[in-house]
């Protein structure tokens, strides 16, 4: 099953979800992710699943709350304003410890912003987004193939941790065409839904209770500690990143998603000239790969963070790098990505080469 097919980004992500066993999709249209619900509305009935268009993102995420409680593989997708609207529900899902996958094809903000690609929802994605002390597991693919692989992985991770997993993409990824291959991930040892989910009272003898309410302060504190222990576990097991030509690097770029592709081109060009440039590319943005930034090679004199935002991931990079070397920033917003030339110019400016 290793045929390569040329697909549009959003459709490839949707197909990956179907291949991962997602059978239920609830969502509300918003550009630039409409191809995901459109694809699901055709595809899910073919595999015995259900596509339901919700009346709003608020309804969609609460459908996900209900659906996830059955233990089946459920997904929604949206883009920035829609994710904001879903935030209360996402908090309930995290609080009730339900597995689900959320796709966020980020567009420019604030407010209605634009429909063009952006990375300006990094804070929202990596800090939970809604109210309360909770985290999503957030994966940020850089190529379509990686998007497909991570989407398939996301469903397993969601079940493993009983936690929502977000695929953090951007409009470029959603709209581009690339050849992809659907590869089944390594099987994981996952909890049996029949032990906890709605619909198995007869079999289990006890009912399922799906809730996030704990009025007793001690109990709510214990619940929070349990969630925190889970997040520490994710931080231990689920950090993913790529180091690219960092060994002898004098300057290391930090970039994720589409921006990392552009940064890679800049690095390759400058390397041809002999400039020692490398990159650390976070793949999981929560949990964030702090370690490679804490342990930069001794050759590194500067770090440059490249984002399609006014500077959000830079905070995490700074936490990792600490005071060892200066951390610089190169960002564009409004639906504009930093160009290869801009990144090169910034590197020359910093290194004086």
């Amino acid at each position: 099953m290793s045929e390569r097919v040329l697909m549009k980004g959003n459709e490839a992500l949707a197909e990956a979800a179907v291949r991962a066993g997602c059978r239920y999709f609830f969502g509300y249209p918003i550009t630039p992710q409409n191809e995901i619900p459109e694809y699901m509305s055709r595809r899910l009935p073919e595999v015995g699943g259900v596509y339901l268009q919700a009346e709003s993102e608020v309804a969609a995420i609460n459908m996900i709350f209900g659906g996830a409680g059955t233990g089946e593989r459920v997904m929604t997708s949206s883009s920035s304003p829609g994710i904001s609207l879903m935030s209360e529900g996402i908090s309930y899902i995290a609080g009730a410890e339900l597995p689900c996958v959320l796709m966020n094809i980020v567009r420019g903000g604030p407010g209605l912003g634009s429909i063009l690609p952006a990375q300006s929802d990094y804070f929202q994605a990596t800090r939970g987004g809604g109210h309360g002390d909770y985290r999503l597991l957030v994966l940020a693919p850089s190529t379509l193939q990686e998007g497909v692989d991570l989407t398939m992985l996301a469903f397993d991770l969601a079940e493993k941790y009983k936690n929502p997993v977000m695929i953090l993409g951007d409009g470029f990824m959603g709209q581009m065409m690339e050849a992809v291959e659907f590869r089944t991930p390594e099987p994981m040892d996952l909890p049996d839904k029949r032990d906890w989910a709605v619909g198995y009272m007869e079999r289990r003898g006890t009912r399922a209770l799906v809730k996030s309410l704990y009025l007793d302060p001690e109990e709510l504190e214990r619940h929070n500690m349990k969630l925190q222990a889970k997040y520490r576990e994710m931080e231990k097991n689920e950090v993913r990143y790529e180091s690219y030509r960092t060994d002898d690097a004098e300057i290391v770029l930090a970039a994720y998603g589409t921006t990392a592709r552009i940064a890679r081109s800049a690095i390759n060009e400058l390397r041809r000239e002999g400039l020692r440039v490398g990159m650390i590319r976070p793949i999981s943005v929560y949990p964030f790969p702090y370690a490679p930034f804490e342990n930069l090679p001794g050759s590194v004199k500067n770090v440059l963070v490249v984002e399609m935002s006014c500077g959000q991931m830079i905070d995490d990079v700074r936490i990792g790098v600490g005071r060892t070397v200066p951390v610089h920033f190169c960002g564009r917003v409004g639906g504009i990505a930093p160009s290869v030339d801009e990144i090169e110019a910034r590197i020359r400016e910093i290194t004086g080469k």
Binding site: Y24, F26, V50, L52, A54, E55, S56, V58, A59, A60, N62, M63, I64, F65, G66, G67, G69, T70, E72, V74, E88, G89, Y92, V198, G199, M201, E202, R207, A208, L209, V210, K211, S212, L213
Partner: protein, 247 residues
């Protein structure tokens, strides 16, 4: 003398004290739901969705699979569960703030899609849990903590007749209004709950039972006065009876 039990706790009702105020009719409504679940023998294939409101702890009282939903969103939660588990029987239980204010979009669209769920709507003309603020169903001139001089239609509009509003839609199969404020009304209320669940089980469509209820605490009345107030003030504005019945 041989003893015969003529009254007992429904099997699908948990053996725990409820937290309701004296004279509150939430408990009666819970019991009617539990009795029907027992009668239909569906305890182990039923899921309920509790609202945010005084009845948030419904999940402690009804012993079936249960969700505690976000404020107003129970119909969206139940819609998804029912689509995924069509052989289960699903109900939501919601107050008037929950269903008719913050959750108006979710109830209208669930009804309009003809979701095969049963909705129990507790209309007590007030926000009970948060301490007596105005609800969409608060009557004209009725006082609430956020309309201390009484509801003024020029400022707050008119009390909403939710059952009638939903009955304008094509998909719902059964829409009715009952009261649980006095024993004489409870028989009809019980029959309505049963018919609503049966409508769902027979896959005839969406079913909705509005129950006129009391909130003596936030109405500032003694329980008996509250029951009379339902009869004298609420029923004339919210007439009892079937509004839409299955074919």
């Amino acid at each position: 003398m041989k003893e015969t039990k003529i009254f007992e706790r429904p099997k699908s009702m948990s053996d725990v004290p409820t937290h309701y105020c004296p004279g509150c009719t939430h408990g009666i409504a819970h019991r009617l739901v539990a009795e029907v679940i027992d009668e239909l023998g569906i305890q182990k294939k039923t899921f309920g969705v509790a609202p945010v409101g005084c009845s948030v702890f419904l999940y402690n009282y009804i012993d079936t699979d249960m969700y505690e939903a976000a404020h107003g969103r129970a119909p969206a939660v139940a819609s998804a569960v029912k689509r995924i588990r069509p052989d289960m029987v699903g109900f939501t239980y919601q107050g008037d703030g929950d269903l008719a204010s913050i959750g108006m979009a979710e109830i209208v669209h669930a009804a309009n899609r003809g979701e095969l769920i049963t909705v129990i709507f507790i209309n007590n003309a007030i926000y009970g849990m948060t301490g007596g603020q105005m609800a969409p169903t608060t009557l004209l001139q009725q006082k609430a903590t956020t309309c201390p001089l009484g509801r003024d239609p020029g400022v707050n509009g008119y009390p909403m007749r939710v059952a009638e509003l939903l009955a304008t839609l094509a998909a719902p199969a059964y829409i009715t209004r009952v009261s649980v404020a006095k024993p004489k009304y409870v028989g009809k209320a019980a029959a309505a709950v049963k018919r609503a669940f049966q409508t769902q089980i027979d896959r005839k469509g969406f079913s909705f039972v509005e129950m006129l209820s009391t909130c003596p605490t936030n109405w500032g009345m003694r329980p008996a006065d509250a029951a009379n107030w339902v009869e004298e003030k609420m029923i004339p504005y919210y007439p009892l009876g079937d509004i839409k019945v299955p074919e």
